[in-house]
Symmetry: C2
Subunit: 177 residues, 2 copies
């Protein structure tokens, strides 16, 4: 999946805000291309990621998520956010059980996400193995009536212990007619 900021694309970029570390240049429109993208010559920046298997969720959590989450592209979901994140070397040096404990037992990352389903739909893209500047690109879609819920979810996640390991984060907000 390729996210490209330029002057064309399905989504209008409403804001590009640095949260931690260096920001990204603003653009007027964002295109989201599934599969191999024909890279637009006029793109301001391009971020690539791939959907993959779950890394931390256990069976109970997967079943709970699957039961309530909704897909992308709902007509009423006219607002979106793209939040690219890079975690520190210290995070990646942790063993699997240590990362899981911080991610869920201490930070309730899955649990917090569940609190905002099905209103806030989400798709995670992995970028670290692609040699990209971010490790993850998370894409959210929601209706205007769930805007406050989305803000609350993001605020809660940023207060967790897991976020101590985030060394770069940019928050891009988008909308479509």
């Amino acid at each position: 999946v390729t996210f490209a900021a330029s002057h064309t694309g399905q989504w209008a970029i409403d804001s590009v805000s640095p949260v931690i570390g260096e920001t990204l240049a603003p653009g007027s429109r964002l295109s989201v291309s599934e599969g191999a993208a024909d890279l637009a010559a006029d793109s301001i920046w391009t971020l690539r990621g791939v959907t993959s298997n779950t890394r931390y969720s256990n069976r109970t959590e997967v079943d709970r998520l699957t039961a309530v989450q909704e897909g992308l592209g709902r007509p009423q979901a006219t607002l979106a956010a793209l939040i690219p994140i890079r975690k520190s070397a210290a995070w990646w040096a942790l063993a699997q059980d240590e990362r899981r404990a911080i991610f869920e037992e201490q930070s309730r990352h899955i649990g917090i996400g569940l609190d905002y389903l099905p209103g806030v739909a989400r798709r995670l893209h992995h970028s670290r193995e692609l040699g990209e500047p971010f490790d993850f690109l998370t894409w959210f879609e929601y209706a205007p009536e769930h805007r406050d819920q989305f803000e609350e979810m993001v605020r809660r996640l940023r207060q967790t212990r897991e976020w101590d390991y985030v060394e770069r984060e940019v928050d891009i907000r988008l909308s479509r007619a």
Copy 2:
């Protein structure tokens, strides 16, 4: 890291054997390039992978591995194996706790590997996120005196429950002067 079979390269290809599913074409030499490789025009096949964080090992296991394993490039390690593997969709649909249980509690993948350290050095490369034909490329280096140990290790791993989820595997053996 790029593994390219051609008529040049540090390693002589002694054999290319299909274990499960389609094999790879034989070549006479294999080159191993770290970082972005200049793709040789005459390569017979090219496989790419990236080293990454651990996916299943807990802290105790990481510490045990780190204490005894040795790095690549030991002068006496004149034999090598490259074993590309692809796992089934059923494997990737499992939750993290289910994959971990099959990987270690049922199959003792980490435990079996530990039994052959430090003789058999190993480096795992992830390919799945790169859209490659295999999910993993595992590279092994060992001295001729550890050849039988290596064969035993491979035989034991292939008898595990984890291997029920392997849908393609090729076994490439190499040597250098």
